[in-house]
Structure formats: structure tokens, C-alpha cells
Subunit: 158 residues, 2 copies
């Protein structure tokens, strides 16, 4: 541990390359995926909420569980839910077991929306991500981001 903690420990050129390419390409990629869903009037965020509900038993989930699995704040989900409810994709129901709670329930219309959007989004992921990469690339990414996530998770616990 030589050197003052305030001295920047600059990235080497190859480290910088990895970081920069990751950041720049990721931003473009996400923008493209979002744009691909424009035709369905869905954002990626809303799409993901619908996917989570579609996979849940009875296509419903408690608000807080949905927020956690979707990696969004409760507040954000609450606001979003109001919009999605108005669009007719979901509705909310009181939870009998825990009277503080709410169920987020997917409606038939929500199901239709996701069934219609899924092939588009899937194709989008394929053409922009999966099909561009070799099997080896994919494995390397899975492994690398697994490490990154474990490392982040570790920090929360400490």
C-alpha cells in the first residue's frame, strides 16, 4: 500500500480499453434495445415487470417482491404501476394475508402485450448481443459479470 490514497491509480491502456468499450457499447446496446420496443409502446423497464409477472404463479406478485426482483425502488414501481394500470396491463389487489400488502396482478391484456412483444425483444437481443458473440465470448461474459456481481453483493453484506 505505497502512495497516498488520494493519488489516482490510473488505469493501464488495456484496462482502460476494457472499461471504455464495455461502457460505450453497453450504452448503445441498451438504447438500441429500447428503440426496438418502441413499436410496442413498452420501455425495457415495463417489459421486465411484465415478464416477471408472467412467470410468477397465477401471474401475480407482491409489490415488494416485484420491486426487488426487478431491481427497481418501491417508489418507482409504485409510480410505474399506476401508469401500467391505466394502460390496462396490470391491476392491484389487496393482500388478505398481510393487510399492508398489495398484489400486482397481470391482466389478460398485459399477457397479450407481453406475448406480442417477446419475439421482438428476443430477436433484438439475438441480433445485437447473442449472435454477435462466439460461445466463448458468451461464457467469458457470464463468468466475468458473475464475478462482478458477487463482488458487489459481498460489499452490501459487510
Amino acid at each position: 500500500m505505497a502512495g497516498k490514497s488520494t493519488e489516482p491509480n490510473w488505469l493501464s491502456p488495456s484496462e482502460m480499453a476494457a472499461w471504455r468499450r464495455y461502457i460505450v457499447a453497453s450504452r448503445r446496446l441498451l438504447d438500441a434495445l429500447d428503440a426496438d420496443l418502441d413499436s410496442e409502446d413498452l420501455s425495457i423497464a415495463d417489459y421486465e415487470v411484465l415478464v416477471l409477472l408472467s412467470e410468477a404463479p397465477d401471474r401475480r406478485m407482491r409489490m415488494s417482491e416485484l420491486a426487488e426482483n426487478g431491481l427497481v425502488s418501491r417508489s418507482r414501481l409504485s409510480h410505474r404501476m399506476k401508469v401500467m394500470e391505466k394502460a390496462g396491463w396490470v391491476k392491484r389487489q389487496n393482500c388478505e394475508v398481510d393487510k399492508r400488502g398489495q398484489w400486482a396482478v397481470m391482466t389478460p391484456k398485459g399477457w397479450q402485450a407481453i406475448v406480442k412483444a417477446a419475439p421482438i425483444h428476443l430477436k433484438s437481443i439475438r441480433t445485437r448481443f447473442i449472435d454477435v458473440l462466439s460461445k466463448g465470448d458468451q461464457e467469458a461474459i457470464a463468468q466475468a459479470f458473475n464475478k462482478i456481481e458477487n463482488n458487489l453483493r459481498k460489499e452490501i453484506i459487510e
Copy 2:
């Protein structure tokens, strides 16, 4: 090309793993990096604008060039600039050569802000990304995301 175009071409488990880990870890990573800059009252977006300016000749750049290099819309940059100008980090100057144009100029205060924030952000990138990965991981990421970006770029031209 067998099958109707509307039939989802589902991802295989290993493809899904690569995609999911990438998306989930990326979101967490970006959140963590943003949180690390909270102490400096900077968002990553603003930090990046300041870095671009700090590296430019005379620490100034035309608005449209700044927008393009920073991967943000002109409108967004314009709005952001107003806030950053109020914070004293940048100022705007008329461009004599092109009278439609504006220079975004970094102020000494802006320079100080970035000098102070850089070690923090760098350390953040190191501990959460670079140092977690092997040299091989880093190379694989650089290569993979290079492919992704080239593929995206290709599409724009077509």
C-alpha cells in the same frame, strides 16, 4: 429461414445466462459507481462531460461535439449545461467562426471538481470492475463489446 418470423426464437440456457448476468450485474455496477460519486455531488453523466472537457484543447469543446462524444442528445446536454453552469463548473461562449455555435468551456472550478473526483471514481472502477477480473476476462470483455459496438454501428450506416 424456417418458421414464421413471429415465433420466438428462445435463448438457450447458456445464452440466457450470459445475457441475464450481464444485464443484472451491469445495472448494479452502474448504480454502485453512481453512488460512489455522491460525495462529490456529481452524477456519472456530469462527470463524463467534465472529463471530456478536461481532455480537450483549451478545455473547451463545441456543444455538438461534446454531445456526440458523450453519447447524449443535444437537448439533454443543453439542459444539463444550464445546471452545470449554475454550479460554476462550466460556462458557455459564443463561437466566432460559426455564429450558430457555442463553446462549452471548463472553468477552474470545474477543473478542481474533476481533479478531486477522479481518484474516487477511478478507485470505484478498480474495486468494482477491473480488480475483480483477470487479464483474460478483461481482454474477453474488450473484444466482445468491440464486436457488439461494431455490429451496432454497421446498422446505422445501412
